[in-house]
Amino acid sequence: MATADWNPLGDVYYRNVELYQMEWNGLIDLNHFMIAAAPYGGPVVLMKDEKKAGRVVTNVKPVISVYNAAGKLLSQHRWNSGTVVHLGWSNTEELLCIQDNGVILVYDIALNFKRTFGMGTEAKDVKILDWKIFSSFQGTGIAVMTTSFRIYIVNNVDDPRVRKLAEVPDLNSVPSSWTILNLDRQCRALVAKNSQLFLIDQGGQYEEQFPKLSSPVTAFIEMAVSFNNKMLSLFTDTGVIWIGSSDLKEVHCEFNTKAARRPQQLSWYVIFKHLYKLYSLYIPKPIVRYNFDSFVYLVQEEDGLRIIGNEVHQFLQKVPNVTEQIFKIGSMEPGAMLYEASKEFSRRSQKADEYIRMIKDKLDVAVDQCILAAGHEFEPSKQKSLLRAASFGKCFLTEYRPEAFVDMCQMLRVLNQVRQYSVGIPLTYTQLGHLSVPVLIDRLVLRKLFCLAIRICHYLKIPDAEGASRILAHWACYKVQQKHEDEEQLARAISQKLIDAPGVSFSEIASQALEQGRKQLAIKLLDYESKASEQVPLLLKMDQNNAALSKAVDSGDTDLVYTVLLTMKEKISNMGEFFMAIRQMPVAYSLYIQYCRQQNPKVVEDLYYQEDNFLAEGNCKVIRSFSEDIFEDRVRKLEAAINCYQKAKMEFAAKQTEDQIKLLKLQRKLEDETNKPYLDLSIQDTMYRLTQNGNHKLAEQIRKDFKVPDKRFWLMRMSALAESGDWMELEKFSKTKKPPVGMEAFVNICMKYNNRSEAMKYLSRVLPDQKVQALLNIGNAKEAADAAFEMRSEEGLGLVLTKAINSNNKQLVESVKDMMNRVNTKK
């Protein structure tokens, strides 16, 4: 019978499912141990409690052991610190060991020490009296009460910042009970001073609370907060249990257990434990009582209560609604009918059809119910029969989306895997929904169940970058910690497995190896890292400068190259050595030059000198010469440059620089003599200015000295004369023998300075083939047309025509066109 283990409680049922037969059965008596188990099917930690064992307290340090939920030993460790008063787990499955001096030691599941922190000096000095581990908004928190009854709190064990809570007025003795409440995103403590209740917060405020209670109270002796922080239960010295909302404003029920003794453990899910008896309460009528014949430990889960005993590990929960709907005797719910139908179908009975017909309209609901109910079952056989029913029902539906069914099958498969004894994570479907698959995979990784984790990732088709690769990286980190393995082999093994996995951060593994002091291994591993931005800093950290530099250069990321260069420069005090190191990398070298060029040009010059790059050195010198404002200095710089150019066999540059010095000297002399500015002019401009100033002789001299071509000299001179309006001289110049330029150039230069009459003077001497253009330049288009016509030059006429069109002279356009026709026909 499916309902055999159900216990009715009012109109709901409770069921108690056996999860595991404990592996520690016969080896351990929980009564003698300090125990703590993590929620979500987490691990169990045990530590022998000398006092409970009733033995003589010895100096032998106790052994601390971690088991999985099936009682399989995971790790053991001899305690070697102070006196542990309490054990607990954080939400990331880290073991928290609270010592009597308020120091908390954090271990991982394999009992590797991770970190430690204290709860303040007061706790250290006067020792602590009581403690609470609770889940806060930021993670897992810890609160301790010192022997002077002050409460200190840490909201998040990953980021321990100790805060003191407000003091309860006139508290001179141990408070009868207290707990931590999580209200409005802040953690506060609820402290009972006998019958008075105080809410104290981190800002130094306190507030007295008055929950509605019908029976008189002398003291609240126990409190418990529900898993979701919304409900609170109080237990009084008169055996009354009060249940209400955690802000104490609403009351759900009050019930007298008639048990006057303080319960050993008050736990939510409305259950409390009294000696070996377990009371289960339900609003409004509490009824059920479970009896155990030995000590049990309760672990609160969001949808039930795990009961860990010496022999078995059970799960007590309220029967989920769907399960009840399907299996409750006489249920007429669609799901129940479908389940029946499926059973009949497998028996080849025609009743199957009858059942289906009965629920024809609600078949989709029925399928949903069966799928959901399967999720709440622990037995694979039950899961299967429910899923079979769902699948059977699905056959009759045409438009039913298959996702829910497929999803459930996948999740159940995963759940069944992790529930196995060897894994020992008894998660329920509801819990998995809350915990999420990625977190579950993290937990498997924590337990070093890499293979299972990867298989689950593959099975659920989680992208490699988020699933398998990450797990492999963890595996590799774990591997490098195993010092007995050969480095060479290890590096090969790791790379083989990880090289094809996308998104693996080799630098993380390498830094893990480095932490373990395995530098060579780290270097080998780092070679596989694809992200240069992570690889390079680590290489630098390990003093692998050259490797870092070459990796940075390969990446093309200039900033990274500079990171290496500047670090190297700081590390290597000898500049020469530094240059030698970077010279092998041309890219890095030129980047360094680029950097120096902006920071310190002198260094650049030295660099070029060092590598015998005379041309570049010479260029630097030339550039720097321009910033010298003292004549002699500039000349000296240029002379040095000539030296460089000669060494570089750059005769042309050397010659030009020589000429420049010559020119500078000449200009200086000129300035002295004429008191006019000449310095920094080009040769051409110097001659120009000289001509304008009428110093033709000297201009001629320069022309000879610097071998200025005739044509350029002529054009320069014409232009200079025209600009200064020396038309006489211009005409004289035009008559010197064999001008290298045509007379049209004279026409043009006159026109440039708008002197038409002067221009006319040269017109007659213009050669016939240039005549048309010259006339056009003067602006005499009509004559130009005639001239072109006379020469029968089609090209000339074309020129005039374009000009005429551009200047919009319609009359001329017509006549030129006419001329063109005539020229054409005459041919």
Partner: protein, 611 residues
């Protein structure tokens, strides 16, 4: 900051609005990280690109109250809670920022928080510089905003990094290639992995290698998007040094050559645009125009040969007049109403027509000059392989007349390219002429040109072969109704675009020999796309005809691209048989002048002390 709509960005084959939105989101995220009112202090070079991504109203919505340019002086007083510096990672700018902050310190303004945002990336050197100057601690936060490819138009992206070519080929600093690779990764994140990659040139190889690395670093977390871009072609400017030196002859190219287009806007003398009756004697501030495809007429004109512009403008004018005249024929109320609804559009068209008529006139003035024609003639001679082996009289004359040096250098570089280098004697003659005329400091510039290979001594003859096999010279170009890309330079087809054209059809295998003659390695790479993400192609038979099957190629020009090249690619995309749509990205839009300007060695001459 110019405000501009962005609807035109979404009209292309690849919706670049998505990219713009991506940047806007990131920018807002960056700015919102500091709470309260804000003032932005801009690195001047960033205002242009930012204007194309985020308009002032967007910033205003995020509590930006004031904006100042970053200058050497103290900050203007403002009572905002946060002052945010937006800057490129350049050491010079760090000095300015530090000065600003130190001045602020003296004033003792309290309660203001300072923030620094690097665009596109944080730089260790800059942070170090700030630390050295003792102001790094003043910043509450130091952040980065990776504005990489700024959408200029629906098919055009530019990174607006002007010194790329110089850094790569003169200074051996490939930082910008890293940014390029990152920007392509961003594009792939938004538009899917690009399956086929081709490239030519050293820088192209670098970029592809970095992309491979970055892909590795992603570690399988690649975007799960069906690829929208089919091919990536990376062309290193070094592969085609000739094209940018030539005078562009498209409308847009000429506007850029004569007036300079900056972040899609141009400043023109205002006199041309003032209605005749309002003329005043006062000199006017230059007027600014934003030119992009949101202006229908401009979209039509920009890529045309300038000789075809006149006829289009007049045709358009007639069409608009005709449409306006429709109102006389409108008899019924319904017809009238229909006309009125068209009115705003018509008015806008008329306005744009007036603007472009004026701009075209301005450009015409420049192109009609004898000088322009002579220069063009000289260039055409060179690309045709005429007179390249001797000192060209026109260049000689220009030097003697002391024409702008940039123009001279452009011409000489063209000659050098078309002659596969120059005889040492000729090269030396030119060099001496330049140094004697323009001054000694230009010797360094000339050395730079030689280092980059723009000027070089003669080597093996390749240009003639390249010209012939890639058909760079097209004799009968139709400027009005072009049939070949050569129309953009009136007879010369840009080499770079020919490479793109051959890649699309029939493939590079057919021109292996020419490719080997061009500098730098050739890259061919395939990035695997998961089967599920592959484009579903129609069966082979139907794929030829349907235009929906047109492939998209992203052409990335490293080191700059000219408007004429862009026009040529657009022309290819419009061809019926092209089968390829082009998305163009570049580090910077350049022209011959800006390209040469970049390679000049800038020397600050200190005046000599007369004593």
């Amino acid at each position: 900051m110019a405000t501009s709509g962005s609807s035109h960005l979404s009209s292309g084959k690849i919706n670049l609005g998505v990219l713009r939105d991506h940047y806007r989101r990131e920018l807002v995220e960056c700015i919102d990280r500091c709470t309260g009112t804000k003032a932005l202090v801009w690195d001047d070079a960033l205002t242009g690109p930012f204007g194309l991504v985020a308009e002032y109203s967007l910033l205003k919505d995020h509590e930006v109250e004031k904006m100042f340019p970053l200058g050497p002086k103290t900050l203007q007083p403002s009572n905002v809670q946060n002052i945010i510096f937006l800057t490129r990672p350049k050491l010079k700018l760090m000095e300015l920022i530090a000065q600003n902050l130190l001045n602020e310190d003296q004033k003792g303004t309290l309660r203001t928080e300072f923030h620094l945002i690097f665009v596109p990336r944080k730089s260790l050197l800059c942070e170090k510089k700030l630390k050295e100057m003792g102001v790094y601690g003043t910043f509450t936060s130091v952040d980065e905003f990776s504005l990489e490819l700024v959408p200029f138009d629906n098919d055009l992206l530019s990174m607006e990094m002007d010194t790329t070519f110089r850094e790569c080929y003169l200074e051996n600093d490939f930082t910008s290639m890293f940014y390029v690779a990152q920007s392509i990764m961003t594009l792939q994140a938004l538009y899917g992995i690009i399956p086929y990659i081709n490239g030519k040139g050293d820088c192209a190889k670098q970029v592809v290698e970095m992309m491979r690395r970055m892909k590795g670093e992603l570690g399988g977390r690649e975007p799960q998007i069906t690829p929208q871009i089919d091919n990536l072609l990376i062309i290193d400017r070094n592969v085609d040094l000739l094209t940018p030196l030539l005078s562009q002859l498209t409308y847009e190219g000429l506007i850029d050559e004569t007036f300079g287009l900056n972040n899609t806007s141009v400043k023109l003398p205002a006199e041309k645009f003032v209605p005749k009756n309002q003329k005043s004697d006062e000199p006017l501030e230059p007027k600014k125009f934003v030119l992009n495809s949101s202006d229908e007429l401009y979209a039509d004109l920009r890529d045309k040969n300038f000789n075809a512009v006149g006829s289009i403008v007049s045709r358009k004018a007639k069409a608009i007049t005709a449409e306006f005249d429709e109102r006389h024929q409108a008899k019924t109320v319904g017809e009238m109403k229909q006309f009125v609804t068209k009115l705003p559009h018509l008015q806008k068209a008329r306005e744009s027509l007036a603007t472009h008529t004026s701009i075209a006139e301005l450009v015409k003035e420049a192109t009609n000059s004898e000088d322009f024609m002579d220069t063009l003639r000289c260039q055409q001679d060179f690309v045709n392989g005429l007179d390249t082996d001797k000192v060209h009289p026109y260049i000689e004359e220009c030097i003697a007349k002391k024409h702008p040096i940039t123009k001279i250098l452009r011409l000489i570089c063209i000659q050098s390219y078309c002659n596969d280098g120059m005889k040492p004697k000729i090269l030396e003659y030119y060099k001496r002429e330049i140094i004697q005329t323009y001054g000694f400091e230009h010797m360094l510039t000339l050395m730079n040109l030689e280092r980059t290979g723009l000027l070089r001594p003669s080597s093996t003859r390749t240009y003639a072969i390249i010209r012939k096999s890639l058909r760079l010279i097209v004799e009968d170009v139709h400027e009005q109704n072009p049939t070949d890309i050569a129309y953009v330079y009136s007879g010369y087809a840009p080499l770079s675009v020919r490479l793109a054209q051959h890649l699309a059809r029939p493939g590079w295998r057919s021109i292996t020999e020419v490719l080997n003659l061009l500098p730098g390695p050739k890259i061919e790479e395939i990035q695997q796309i998961p089967v599920a993400l592959r484009k579903r192609r129609n069966s082979m038979t139907s794929s030829h005809s349907s235009t929906g099957d047109q492939k998209v190629t992203l052409v990335f020009f490293l080191g700059g691209v000219t408007y004429a090249e862009i026009a040529a690619l657009r022309f290819l995309a419009q061809q019926d048989d092209g089968g390829t749509d082009y998305l163009i990205a570049t580090t910077k839009i350049i022209n011959g002048n800006s390209f040469i300007e970049l390679l000049k060695e800038k020397v600050d001459t200190v005046k000599l002390n007369p004593f």
